[in-house]
């Protein structure tokens, strides 16, 4: 078994850096002569760094671009602009054998365990498929043993290699998806809403599994979810997205205890807390309206149409995610401040 060759593996060093990533989906009109009439700005200038061994949570509401971000990083979409460096190489310029090598190092767990597994393949074939694509990852003849090891690692019975996905429950299927992602011993796993399709009692089992695997294999996670409680539980650092941009990024404590962006504050206060007594003395911010269309985002600050702090300057000048005086972590708000408890 060859671990990805990297002589110096220092926990905490930057493993992936994303710089000003942009993805615009064209809106076209006309049948014969298609012309572009606009663009959905799904991801519009996202920069962040992922460090070795850490979990970066990405939260935001539907349409904020978090899943597109995941697809871009997996090179399932081609970015409109921007760069991402993995192991010091440009992820979006790589092709051929170099791309295959980079892909080995970054794998994905999908949201829906029902549609992300081929119903006509056995579990053994599903988990073993990465070895067919990357034969160098498993010496000849060792594939079956590797698959059984992987099943064992994710807490499934290794004797079930010949079963089909429909013979497993939702939580077990998600374990199969995780085993497939682990097969090539990647250093980074992108998890796109890995637990949101699961029931509460099963969700906790999968979260614990992900945490245990991280400790065991030193994995770095990009953990995309809309559930703020789950993200807080699993993440070391958190990025909050709104309409294609990161509005605030910081450590789990900076975001959850000292958030300075009004959107983060509103999002946090809207989360239902499962405690009727704690709820009474919570100071809840109610946002009005819906998220604007990413095809036609507001000028200046994109959150200003729903923001209670919005002023003239918010419409004319776009705030950048820079360190703010209120608390030393990047926040994209002209009026960033910590909300009094």
């Amino acid at each position: 078994m060859t671990a990805p060759a990297s002589p110096t593996k220092v926990r905490g060093e930057t493993i992936l850096s994303v710089d000003n990533l942009v993805k615009h989906f064209p809106i076209t009109q006309g049948v014969l002569f298609r012309k572009q009439t606009g663009a959905v700005k799904a991801v519009d200038g996202v920069s962040f760094e992922l460090r070795r061994g850490e979990t970066l949570g990405v939260v935001g509401e539907s349409g904020c671009g978090k899943s597109t971000l995941a697809r871009l990083l997996m090179r399932l979409e081609t970015p409109t602009a921007g760069r991402a460096r993995l192991e010091g190489r440009d992820l979006f310029k790589a092709s051929g054998s170099e791309l295959r090598r980079l892909r080995r190092n970054m794998q994905m767990v999908m949201q829906d365990p029902y549609t992300s597994l081929n119903p006509r393949m056995t579990v053994g074939d599903i988990i073993g498929e990465p070895f067919d694509i990357h034969p160098e990852a498993a010496p000849k003849g060792s594939k079956r043993r590797r698959v059984q090891e992987l099943l064992d690692v994710v807490g499934l019975n290794p004797e079930h290699v010949n079963r089909y996905p429909h013979q497993f429950s939702g939580g077990q299927r998600q374990r199969i998806g995780i085993a497939r992602a682990l097969a090539l011993r990647p250093e980074i796993i992108v998890c796109d809403e890995p637990v949101s399709a699961l029931d509460v009692s099963i969700q906790a089992q999968v979260i614990n599994l992900l945490e245990q695997l991280q400790d065991e294999f030193g994995l770095s996670y990009i953990f995309i979810a809309h559930d703020l409680s789950v993200v807080r539980h699993i993440s070391d650092r958190v990025a909050v997205m709104y309409l294609g941009k990161i509005v605030e990024i910081g450590t789990e404590q900076e975001i959850y205890e000292r958030a300075t962006h009004p959107y983060t504050q509103a999002l946090l206060s809207a989360v239902p807390v499962p405690d009727p007594e704690a709820r009474a003395d919570r100071n809840i911010i109610r946002l009005t309206g819906d998220v604007p269309s990413p095809a036609d985002p507001p000028s200046g600050c994109r959150f200003r149409t729903r923001c209670w702090k919005a002023q003239e300057v918010c419409a004319t000048q776009e705030p950048h995610a820079v360190l703010r005086a209120a608390d030393p972590h990047p926040s994209a708000c002209h009026f960033a401040e910590v909300r009094p408890a």
Binding site: G171, Y256, I284
Partner: protein, 345 residues
């Protein structure tokens, strides 16, 4: 297997006129080619005017099927109501004719669904859909129905309601669509509103708006509400009482505060402990081991026993009955007292 008669839920004393809505010992099964799935196994709950009851459970627990049985919209076959009663103002809905049930549906008991996009008809404007019940059931003229539809859209706080009557469902956002569906449900002034996972498909900020709206409407219109959900967080904010379901049974039934303070059923306790909390940062989550049972092969005795840390031999042998714990709480667990004392610690 015949079970001893189950005592109707004693969570609160029966008022002199009887409860507004009462489900008594309901049994529903799905007869499929693979076998018979026992989906509801003796569910009893009740609702009084203006009250809010949350029915909490995971997928397959039977929470939605119970609601569909109340509404009379079960798909039969495969569903089959084996026994039980559903009393609305003292009359059993299950023995009524389809025409009599139609009079209850919408006018007395209305329902909203999780997925507003598929619940609304994509080819008709929303104003027309809200007015449809008014024209059909109240015999209103088109103009009157349209006027009333605008009022209803205003009631559910859709901005510029009168201008949006002619818009189609796809022109509304998810939250606004849910509001349209609430307007449809409210058209005939129902006394009971059943909300089946009304905010599950919505984002948190919009979810909060819809839950606020439902709470406000319930207060202003003096409606009783059954909120069906899997989300322990949502329940904590809006319900007066909670019925927790597992494998087609109600395992715990209590007022909201005592239940969250000290759950008295191992399943409720496990659920509460397995959700990550935003306000409490802990270590590894505690989990409920194993999986929910296959409804075609429900375990003997207490259906939760294979997953339960409290399980003893008695749990395998005997179905636990609702144990009344005082302050109107019941728990279907042989060790309810013990579980509650552990939780309170």
């Amino acid at each position: 297997m015949t079970q001893p008669t189950v005592v109707p839920t004693p969570a609160s004393p029966t008022p002199p006129g009887g409860h507004l809505l009462e489900v008594r010992d309901l049994h529903v099964e799905f007869r499929t080619r693979e076998g018979v799935a026992k989906v509801i196994n003796g569910v009893s709950y009740h609702l009084d005017p203006g009250e809010s009851l949350a029915v909490l459970g995971e997928s397959g627990s039977g929470k939605s099927v119970t609601a569909q049985a109340i509404m009379g919209i079960l798909d039969t076959p495969p569903a089959h109501v084996r026994s039980g009663q559903i009393l609305y103002r003292g009359r059993d809905l299950l023995t009524q004719s389809e025409e009599q049930r139609r009079q209850v549906r919408g006018k007395e008991i209305a329902m909203i669904f999780q997925d507003a996009l598929s619940a609304l008809n994509p080819v008709f404007p929303v104003g027309w859909q809200i007015g449809e019940t008014l024209r059909q059931r109240e015999g209103m003229s088109r103009a009157d129905a349209r006027r009333r539809a605008a009022e209803l859209m205003d009631l559910v706080k859709i901005p510029a309601a009168a201008k949006r009557l002619g818009d189609y469902p796809h022109q509304f956002s998810g939250g606004m669509r849910q509001r349209v569906m609430i307007a449809v449900a409210l058209a005939l002034n129902p006394k009971v509103l059943i909300a089946d996972e009304p905010t599950t498909a919505l984002d948190v900020t919009v979810q909060a708006q819809i839950m606020d709206l439902l709470a406000e409407l319930r207060r202003d219109l003096d409606m009783a509400m059954i909120l069906i959900t899997h989300d322990l967080g949502v329940v904590a904010g809006v319900a007066d009482r909670i019925a927790v379901m597992y494998a087609g049974r109600i395992v715990e039934h209590a007022d909201v505060r005592p239940l969250y303070r000290a759950p008295a059923h191992p399943y409720t306790k496990g659920l509460l402990e397995s959700i990550p909390r935003l306000d409490v940062r802990g270590q590894a989550l505690s989990t409920i081991k194993g999986l929910p049972p296959n409804l075609m092969r429900i375990p003997s005795g207490c259906p939760f026993h294979p997953r339960c840390p409290y399980a003893q031999q008695v749990c395998v042998d005997e179905v636990p009955h609702d144990l009344v714990l005082g302050d109107g709480r019941t728990s279907a667990c042989h060790f309810a007292q013990e579980v509650r004392d552990d939780s309170a610690r």
